[in-house]
Symmetry: C2
Amino acid sequence: MEEKYNIVVGQSGGPTTVINASLYGVIQEAISARDKIDKIYGMINGIEGFINGNFMDIEKEMTKEEIELLKSTPSSYLGSCRYKLPDSMEDSMYRQIFEKFSKMNIRYFIYIGGNDSMDTVSKLSIYANRTNSPVKIIGVPKTIDNDLVLTDHSPGFGSAAKYVATTVRDIVMDASVYDMQSVTIVELMGRHAGWITASSILARKYEGDNPYLIYLPEVAFDVEAFINKISELLETKTNIVVCVSEGIKDKDGTFICEYSGCAGVDTFGHKMLTGCGKYLENVIKEHLSVKVRSIELNVNQRCKAALASKTDVDEAVMAGKYGVKSLLAGETGCMVSFERIPGENYSVGCRLVDCGQVCNQEKVVPREWISDNGTDVLKEFVEYAKPLIAGENEQIIIDGLPVYVYRKG
Amino acid sequence: MEEKYNIVVGQSGGPTTVINASLYGVIQEAISARDKIDKIYGMINGIEGFINGNFMDIEKEMTKEEIELLKSTPSSYLGSCRYKLPDSMEDSMYRQIFEKFSKMNIRYFIYIGGNDSMDTVSKLSIYANRTNSPVKIIGVPKTIDNDLVLTDHSPGFGSAAKYVATTVRDIVMDASVYDMQSVTIVELMGRHAGWITASSILARKYEGDNPYLIYLPEVAFDVEAFINKISELLETKTNIVVCVSEGIKDKDGTFICEYSGCAGVDTFGHKMLTGCGKYLENVIKEHLSVKVRSIELNVNQRCKAALASKTDVDEAVMAGKYGVKSLLAGETGCMVSFERIPGENYSVGCRLVDCGQVCNQEKVVPREWISDNGTDVLKEFVEYAKPLIAGENEQIIIDGLPVYVYRKG
């Protein structure tokens, strides 16, 4: 009989709507590989928690029903961390981690996360290689920002995009009821990459519908040009909805949200840092006599389980499963990646890419998918994003509210 | 053969998730009373638009499918206004309106709206009475704030409450992933009445769960006591979520959100008016060394159709239908009101109340439904609100996005 080993899974970085779906995929695939895998451990609060001795035996501590609920529970069930492993492989931290692996009979480590988590996967696999450790390590991508390279897209983005498209459509409906000119500025997540903000184009019910303007961080933002654009639109339109990424910058690279900190201080003398949406609201108020408001969509973009994309959830599960399969096939130091399969209907397949090439890189929206004047997104983006938001994920609802699985803190 | 008359319906005040469901009820009931009602007119942008000659022939301009979509479309399909009729009945405005009614063979007017709209219903019915006009006028309630008197609750509130409960539950999940102390302040709608904010109690997954603190405008807010409370909680809790109403005031009646305007000015010298959530975020930052952020839920509270309460939608339809029935029965000057029918299972019936007693009144959360120290809501509120958020409303979804009906602007 082949010897059995244990697997450990961790979640890291900011939570998303579907990071638990990947955890579900990992657990299911590990269970179905019972001949090779014995225990399924979960790191509590990622690698940082694991170092401090925090972990759980998943099958012992979770019921089957609870495991099923992971598919519709937002946030990170296992808890998360933002922890960067030391750059020097001589650091005793590495020895400690691998001693723990050894002591717990762990041969497989799967880490679900974004850029920084892939850095962890990369470093640990390099260390394992150098020390001839048999432990294999694979990363499963997760980010609402969709900024991971070497993959068509990342689990988490589809649901964020669906939330944004639906919500901007709702806001446009809400903003259009009065027969009185108004400007609504919606600030969306994405500090460096505009994928989430670009998704607001999907909110349009017909060509030429709101949001009339979409600004991504990929193109330098000019406040004067913005005022002129709004002023021009007000000549023919009643209600204008504008979507801006929180990360829009001017041509010198200064974030527009930093403009607002120049003179604003509160009663404590603190700088009142507000987002670029609030700043642009004030700019329009100052220059044009029109009703204006700004809305920040905030953390809902990464945790609104009711609007999760079924496609995204299914793919997150698939990525988790593929990660376990890859570990069992002896792969290490890689991230699971999605490849779009050419053809009329959308479908993706999984493959592995080198984690070392993924970490510390950033994928932005291609310039050619953005209009020349930088105020709109083009049909190439729509074709890319549309299939990612398809399908409604099932939720268990009791008394009108979603049932989630959680560790009681 | 009995003579047929026309009916006109209008929507007024802020939009809600279910105000179009009431419009649907009005249209359906009017159609089924074909022997008495000929045309169904819609006022475009409420009474103000109607005065300016803006209206539509609903059955001529909408398909059956479009009428069905009203049940799942947020915002005001007919457009809205914020318009107060003159106090003096001698004003020529009244004569003009009734001349229009007469010219268009309108005998029935149904107005869907909140406090101010009931003022319109009241005034027009008094004028009709004084001038012996045969036109009957009925109001159908609508407000997310739930502040209308003489009714158990108002259509629009249940969906707002469901959105808030679900979203705060999501935010709590999102706020609990790191093993690091944090405070999250969620600012909710409700300037004078705390019904929406109180609904955040439904977000708790178990007794003693977040949100740990809930502050309504019904109880004077004390900033120092707030700091002490947070400080005390931080001794035993890791992640604290606090829900505050935008309208919380100190004991002198000053809005907490006004505190922030004292010194904050932006680059234009404008006061940077932010909500009380942002202000309290800064207060906590100043006094306690803990990670803190604030989130404003904003207009989503009144337009998130994906989270509409089925109970709320059904009741909104019922109120619209009851309004038409009442008009045909010869009633006027009244608002449709909900009465909870005693019994084990929740159910409501409709009755009529005098509009004159509804307008310019405000129903707040009873003091005895709030804890003595004003930091929590009690089980009486839970029992009241729980049935109102029950059931998921059906939506038509195409390509992952909700289909709405709208007038192209």
